[in-house]
């Protein structure tokens, strides 16, 4: 049975689930932790968080038998999914950071930041960035004067199909900040750590029809 109206946050051992759960609670959004293939298959909406390395993230998903469950939920049932930070990167096919195959839910690969010489910037990119809207997405359709999000990453996504990029941001180079390919959504930043700008985004995801 599908659990409508509930956001299912995937707890697979590589992410700070605490802050995401806290933020959902703060926003009044019903959310639960899920960790089994059955729970993922029956979820109404999925959030895939993640920190650390690409291969470590995929290994943890595989150990729990979640790769097939995620793919069938998203591709067959059309379950909306929101990947956050490493969770977004895992939605792609591969990453320069590792050898493992990604979830391949979106045509994209991840690359390490190649910053221009003398940029004075350092990797990892840790800090706030303003989104540059490429096209209106379900999670973001306009950018206010103070809209900003918190990023913490060394790799960024490069989409095979540019039309999947909802917003970019700048850190020495322009990089993908938000993607959407129908029910597959991803944000490179941390909405759960981005003040009211992130809360708005989580509310919008929670409002997406199951």
């Amino acid at each position: 049975m599908r659990k409508d109206g509930l956001v299912s946050v995937i707890d697979y051992g590589v992410a700070n689930i605490g802050s995401l759960m806290n933020m959902h609670r703060k926003c009044g959004i019903p959310a639960e932790r899920v960790s089994t293939p059955e729970e993922v298959r029956s979820a109404g909406k999925l959030v895939l968080p993640g920190v650390g390395s690409f291969d470590n993230g995929m290994s943890h998903l595989m150990e729990r038998g979640l790769v097939d469950a995620l793919r069938s939920a998203v591709l067959t049932r059309g379950t909306p999914i929101l990947g956050i930070c490493l969770g977004m990167q895992l939605l792609g096919r591969a990453s320069e950071e590792g050898k493992r195959e990604g979830l391949s839910l979106v045509d994209a690969e991840c690359e390490r930041f190649q910053l221009p010489e003398n940029s004075g910037l350092k990797v990892p990119h840790q800090g706030w960035g303003r989104p540059n809207l490429k096209r209106p997405g379900v999670l973001l359709d306009k950018v206010g004067p103070k809209t900003r999000f918190y990023f913490s990453h060394s790799y960024h996504m490069v989409c095979g199909d540019e039309s999947n990029v909802v917003a970019s941001a700048a850190y020495g180079v322009e990089f993908t900040a938000m993607i959407q390919a129908e029910n597959v959504m991803g944000v490179q930043f941390h909405p759960e750590k981005s003040h009211r700008y992130g809360m708005e985004l989580l509310r919008r995801f929670a409002g997406v029809a199951d």
């Binding site: 605490g18 802050s19 759960m21 806290n22 840790q126 706030w128 060394s154």
Partner: protein, 251 residues
């Protein structure tokens, strides 16, 4: 790219305190109240350092961190009394974003690598407390600035980067609480020696001090007194610069 401006807040037991040169801790107020004010002001990030956790050997105050985590809408780091990886796992579970380590690294530097493996380098902050000695120059201290390790901060910063640290929180004990500016030579020295971000800490009193540290290589700046005191008499008042003013400052 606006550098992060980070309130760096000291905890002792359940209260917020502020020191001068790592001494004379003065009670400032309730940390949860401060978090709520910093939420409203939309601060970039916060750092909480428990200055009683190591000296009392009590370990992190998990109950307080859980309360802070459930209120903080921005990334925040915790440091103080961390000695083992299980404590770190628990802090991450509660919703702490980054772990700050200092004293433990003088005898168990492998912990940096362990934490990086659990949560990624960007969650690992190594705090380096520095005093300038008359004869030997810059030296790194641990145990809230009480014990001289005899090591130069550049050497420590490079070793910690190698071990997996994602950021260096670089504190000048001499300048802490004075509100007369950062130790800019120290900031430059360490920032040039590592590839990871360096957060300048200790001495900020005005917005222009932030700009000075960034001009000398800091990727972010932290301040304590400036965000909890107001006026010459240091009345307690939680403040933070306007977003627009910071944009102009770094623009």
């Amino acid at each position: 790219m606006k550098p992060r401006v980070i309130p760096s807040l000291l905890l002792r037991n359940d209260g917020l305190v502020k020191t001068v040169r790592y001494e004379d801790a003065r009670y400032i107020g309730d940390p949860i109240n401060a978090v709520r004010i910093f939420n409203e002001k939309e601060v970039d990030e916060m750092t909480f350092l428990d200055i009683s956790a190591t000296t009392k050997s009590s370990g992190p105050n998990f109950e307080l961190m859980e309360r802070i985590a459930s209120e903080a809408f921005m990334p925040f780091a915790y440091g103080g009394g961390i000695t083992e990886i299980e404590q770190v796992r628990k802090l991450f579970t509660l919703g702490v974003e980054k772990i700050v380590m200092n004293t433990v690294l003088s005898h168990n530097p492998e912990l940096v690598t362990q934490v990086a493996e659990v949560a990624g380098s960007s969650s690992v902050v190594v705090s380096i407390d520095v005093r300038k000695k008359l004869l030997s120059g810059y030296r790194t201290f641990v145990r809230s600035g009480q014990v001289n390790t005899g090591r130069h901060p550049v050497e420590v910063a490079q070793e910690m980067q190698e071990r997996g640290a994602g950021e260096i929180l670089l504190n000048s004990i001499d300048n802490e609480g004075a509100m007369e500016g950062y130790d800019l030579d120290l900031v430059e020295l360490v920032s040039q020696a590592v590839d990871i971000p360096v957060i300048a800490s200790g001495g900020a009193g005005r917005n222009e001090h932030f700009r000075q540290a960034v001009d000398r290589g800091a990727s972010a700046v932290a301040a304590g007194s400036m965000f909890v005191y107001h006026g010459k008499l240091r009345a307690v008042l939680i403040t933070y610069p306007d977003y627009d003013d910071l944009e102009d400052l770094f623009g």
